[in-house]
Symmetry: C2
Subunit: 199 residues, 2 copies
């Protein structure tokens, strides 16, 4: 299959030559691969790689999914923003999680819809209290890199019951937020995987 | 492979007999399937199905994922519950979505954390306003059956930007809520698929 994939169209004779085998020896193998749909054969032209994926390649496809290919744009707010303004920002941007940054634009905390809902019924003065009072703060924040495996990040989300992770890059003064990965992105990846295989 | 899967251990002779072919004819095929690891062979015993999955079966595995295998327990509240009590219920049960039912316990609406956050800053009297004033109401609710394909439901969630769907069953007086399917469940299914294939 490798030979056909990278050299097709290629005749049975040529494949046999490359493998240092007789044409007759590889005939049954080629017949099976063609019948199974992994190879296409055309008379007087040769064998083509059909592109039909086999097991390992669907698994490979899943392993190859990287955070960077599925992440969304992060929505960040300064740690001195009021809780009320943060709620408005959340509705304006229509996201479920805000990332909180310090004056150097580095990750300081995370605010979920749940955090904001809790404080909205908690009797605090939402106009005065800044978000850094109610946010989950560093270093208690799970973050990831755009090069991380999406599957590993999905496992972290399930194991640690997290809805969204900041995608970060180490900057001079701390972690810079360059993306956002959520259960919506993972659901999208699940759908994309199904669509890639015409399910 | 089907023959070996359902009849193994079975000898090459017996497989040939079932296929109405000579033993020599199927020898190369059996050799390839054994070398590829799909079948195991033991001298004087015969061929076994190794359980190694091939392409189509990972895709089949994804198609076979049903809502009923991944759904969570639904949290329902009566449509006359106050918004404040519903928020408390949401925290108590630690869910992101509540399903609202009428006095016959049939689906009347859906309440998301977003709906509740909106009303909490909207200046309404949360102790007095019942949830049926702020909920998304039937028939504008996407619901599903436990027999539905998880992949199709995941597509609906992405296409319609829904975080959670009620899993329902037609009852005498309306739709009864028997489950809840969320992006967390889909993320869990994504992780489960990876784990099934040792990724």
């Amino acid at each position: 299959m490798e030979i056909v994939k990278y050299n097709g169209p290629i005749t049975g004779e040529q494949i046999a030559e490359r493998l240092d085998l007789a044409r007759a020896t590889i005939r049954p193998d080629l017949a099976i691969l063609t019948m199974a749909g992994f190879l296409d054969a055309r008379p007087r032209v040769g064998y083509f790689y059909s592109g039909k994926k086999i097991a390992q390649s669907m698994a490979d496809g899943m392993v190859d999914m990287k955070v960077g290919d599925f992440q969304s744009i992060p929505v960040v707010v300064n740690e001195n923003m009021s809780v009320y303004d943060a709620i408005c920002q959340m509705f304006l941007e229509d996201v479920g999680t805000l990332f909180v940054v310090d004056d150097h634009h580095c990750l300081a905390g995370v605010l979920s819809r749940k955090d904001l809902l809790r404080s909205s019924i908690g009797g605090v003065d939402m106009d005065k209290i800044p978000v850094n009072v109610i946010m989950t703060r560093m270093p208690n924040i799970t973050h990831c890199s755009k090069h991380d495996s999406l599957l590993q990040v999905a496992k972290k989300m399930i194991d640690n019951q997290i809805d969204a992770l900041p995608v970060t890059e180490q900057g001079e003064k701390g972690l810079e937020v360059i993306g956002r990965i959520t259960k919506t992105n993972i659901t999208g990846a699940f759908v994309a995987l199904g669509e890639e295989y015409d399910l």
